[in-house]
Symmetry: D2
Subunit: 349 residues, 4 copies
């Protein structure tokens, strides 16, 4: 089968690989659609260290091709979604309520990390009964594939934010995860959602996904503006959706005492992420900093798919580019170099 | 001033009363609009015991008429909302996180209970800085007055339900509080909201406020139908919004193990409310039963008003009848006897 | 091998059975010590329906005898504890945070229910890596076996009770689970623990496990006395540890508005468990009713074993009787008929 | 009356001041005993900016001297404790569940900050009914005065730590607040408490208050040792009780994915408190950072006093020095310069 791999740090390309086979609890999925993620670029740039001929990609839907002997609920031909994170259920971290951390820190993140990813004609799913979800008839492949990471991660940003009903939320950065955090905050009862973003196309998407106000950090001081919009109080919840030290600091500054900074950003560089001491109330302002990795698993995926089925959100507005798997190299280039105002690139197989 | 009172159990009417005066922390509000609540009927029927010439009503907006010497944030002329529940902040129950229970069980419920209510030209508000909220310019009196009880109580039903994002919710009964519980469930991220109701006009409102499915208990078995709609699992959250033993039992039955029954119904009769033993998992199914009284206070009201300001919900669709305060006797009759498919009756002053 | 079985409703005895074999993820444990539980009596009495030659028992420790091909962390000879509840990790209920409900209501309760129990020379454990725990050197078999159900269930009663630090707790009934709820409340920061019990030997144990006050329901009115002990407020948390409608009602009555009734009792009869309407605040007193089934799993067991290792509690004071497995019929009779002031009966193999 | 004041930054001394008078909701307390806190030194050093003749001190007990006209529950002669933090109940932050932040960030911290403190023969208490607590007969002044800040703050460190029953906790630094965090972790069900401290006398106290293990950071690597003590997993909860950037970093490092860093330390210098990026899981390890200011209020104080009354903890072991108020200058010098292995200095009036 064909696979799109990271040959070494900084170099990608298509490669022939053997079709994977399932263990007793596993499944092999024939890929139908996939999305390219900024994490794929991080990985190629060396973010998780050197890898050789590792298949990239962790956002995909497809049809079940083969199942292991112990799989009960899925059969070849089933149209399925798999989360970007495929936990080891039963592991200590899973039993502790943190399945994304099963097998060690971020250990649920297996695709294109500790095993081959989904940018291939077929891919392997561990513990299929617990990590696959059937896609309802009314939900398209293109919509469903957004659940794997974009909805799950973005919504998590809102869920960890402890938003009171009618509360105020600032979402810092409106990339695809930030946009889904914006949608998530709106879906979880925020009374005022402030999207921070400078790119006009993303500002427009932010409004479409539920931002009531947009703050352009290139034109105004974010902290000042957020305080102004909240009567000088600061927001109940600030969601960091970029992964930059400066943005994280802003998040701590705009949140009120007793509020929550919910981090979804990935920090790729530097020794530290820094908390501004005074605005953190010298450690005493009852400001909480939450963080997390994209939740995975069948139940999570089923719940997200239900949100699509009942029309709570339409993630396909984020698809700016479409390519076939044959055009994968060009597709990756567009995503990697952020060409042509790209938001998300959809690959069909 | 004129006041609409409960003269004794079963008898109401207009009466002249002296205009109230504020203590040092209090305010007097000149009433602009009010809503009649089913609780007013319960009270007149003797639900809280005998009362003599007690002014009825607990849902109102108006303008500040006079403030006590220690009031800082409000001035005569301010357009204000007051919650149906006006807690004693600082009381043990408030410090414990349950201000509605300040001063004893349900003690925050003062209007038309432990003191005169709001169906009068003027009414008294204790601890004005903590219990009043300014109404934003873009929000009408008619919309704002729904926050006092209908939104606060209905939304509480959803908030206590611990709804997972994309989870399933059944709301049992679609009276005005049930409708706001339906809206609340939708606003808090439910992926599927099932409204149980038999009256066509209320079914229609339920759909407008966010119910994805309607179950008519006069035509089908509610438990069976809810299980069918949830793939045999039961719902994550069942909200009892009627206050009937049979409905409460249904709530326990339709909720899945690990799910939550959130009670907002007021139980007016009988010695017991009964939990069905087997469906409660013989006490071991991890089903939680939450309950509560309408949250009050300035912050709550400000947050609910923000939901109106940013167009999250339009409660005025529930106004089926409008009367002036002069027509109060007829207005009360319509509400009390549930004439003409009444949902909510608005009184203007 | 020899097994102690329920031959049919009302009849027990020893029987020869084949030694079980493990599936790929499972283990077979050679039993070293076991405890008889009141649930065993319920089962024999028909509480879970008819069974034929079902091996009884769900509280045991032993040494690993054989493991399946996929088991990673356990080897023959390891000294192990297994929880009474052995969840299917990865199941929907487990992913939802309620592993005890995996596979359906109370579905994690497999031993002596949906499969053979532990009163046998060998027993089978599903998903060994997730459901077994190694016993630390400093912890005796006799102490460890209490973790399987008594500590896990009793402590859960306290954990579900949402006890504020320095808060007040009433534990209704001081059988072995109630005693561990008493210990649990004390261990979780309660400032006042009131044990309700009439049997002198159990009152004495209750004091030893941390009850500050004892209320004898045969001598005084429990509700009155608890209110008196809490300055008229009621307790923050009431733990029902008996499983009787009347006791449940008392629990609702003694808890303050905003407080929690935590149920650990098993209700074996009647169509309903009844909530007293008025004392429940007519549905509006912010009183929460929590319930649950004994938590299982490796992490839970490891944490409980740590509590023994670091001397937080000594459950062996509850052992009133000791028998060898040969004497199982007599042992069961003592436990079943509650002879000789029995609290717990230990069986050694 | 005599008061011990900060004359200006760096200079303290006794001064005559008029005895304060109460507003309608307030009380004046005649001081009986007080404790000197490290915060007093911070304040004198300029930590909260310049002050002129500000009375120092925020930990005190005494007898009620005079009450305002609206005070209901207290009378002259009552023996009382007041929390270091005296919130404005009813304020937005209080209604939001964070009374310590009422009136602005850290706004509940009034004594020796926004008004005169308690190192005086008499001191003023705002909202007496909500901020005073009667001291039970069996509790000494010396024990009670520890509740004002030491128990409330230290226990908060444990409460914010979300410690699972039987979980593992590291408490970094064993000063008086750290010691009470150690006691708090033990009282809240930790299965293993690791105290980090190098001073022998404090190590000994740490053991007495419940530390199972002591790690001396001058002799071994804290991160390495904590991982070793937790089987390589890290702790569930790390409590920072010093207020140093390096210690905070250690806290993030020793906590497992999914665990909580609970901050009680006050950070007096530097622009930032720094999170180590990699050990924070690049923002994705589900590690939560909680923070807070000493909880105050009558209910909190009553619950802490109950812990003393029922002998849960004896804080008086921390009293290393005793002085009369006449000797206040020498007393302050001992505390300020940390002479003679001082832990806490008690002042009697």
């Amino acid at each position: 089968m064909k696979a799109f791999v990271m040959k070494e740090i900084g170099r990608v390309g298509l490669l022939d690989k053997p079709t994977p086979r399932p263990g007793p609890l596993d499944a092999i999925v024939r890929t139908a659609a996939a999305l390219i993620c900024t994490s794929d670029s991080h990985t190629v740039a060396g973010g998780i260290g050197p890898r050789e001929d590792l298949t990239l990609g962790h956002e995909a839907v497809g049809t079940v091709h083969e199942v292991g002997s112990e799989v009960r609920d899925f059969r070849p031909g089933d149209r399925v979604l798999v989360g970007a994170i495929t936990p080891d259920w039963g592991d200590a971290a899973s039993q502790n309520g943190f399945p994304s951390q099963s097998g060690g820190p971020l250990g649920g993140f297996k695709f294109a990390n500790s095993k081959d990813g989904v940018f291939a004609e077929y891919f392997h799913v561990n513990h299929a009964d617990a990590n696959l979800a059937k896609i309802p008839d009314g939900v398209s492949d293109e919509a469903a594939v957004y659940c794997a990471d974009m909805l799950s991660t973005g919504f998590m940003g809102a869920e960890h934010g402890d938003i009171p009903m009618g509360g105020t939320v600032a979402v810092l950065a409106q990339g695809p995860v930030g946009l889904m955090a914006t949608a998530g905050a709106r879906l979880l009862g925020a009374g005022l959602v402030i999207g921070v973003e400078s790119v006009p196309a993303r500002q427009k998407l932010a409004r479409a996904y539920g931002a009531d106000e947009i703050v352009d950090f290139t034109k105004e001081d974010v902290v000042e503006r957020v305080l102004e919009l909240t009567g000088g109080q600061g927001v109940d919840t600030a969601i960091e959706a970029l992964g930059a030290d400066a943005t994280f600091q802003t998040a701590v500054k705009v949140v009120k005492p007793g509020g929550t900074v919910s981090n979804v950003g990935y920090y790729g560089e530097g020794e530290f992420v820094r908390i501004p001491r005074v605005e953190w109330g010298v450690g005493m302002a009852d400001k909480t900093i939450a963080s997390g990795l994209c939740p995975g698993g069948r139940l999570r995926m089923e719940r997200l798919l239900r949100m699509l089925e009942t029309k709570r959100v339409d993630p396909t507005r984020m698809t700016t580019h479409r390519f076939s798997f044959d055009e994968m190299e060009r597709a990756f280039e567009v995503a990697d170099k952020k060409l042509e105002d790209v938001v998300k690139v959809l690959i069909t197989f």
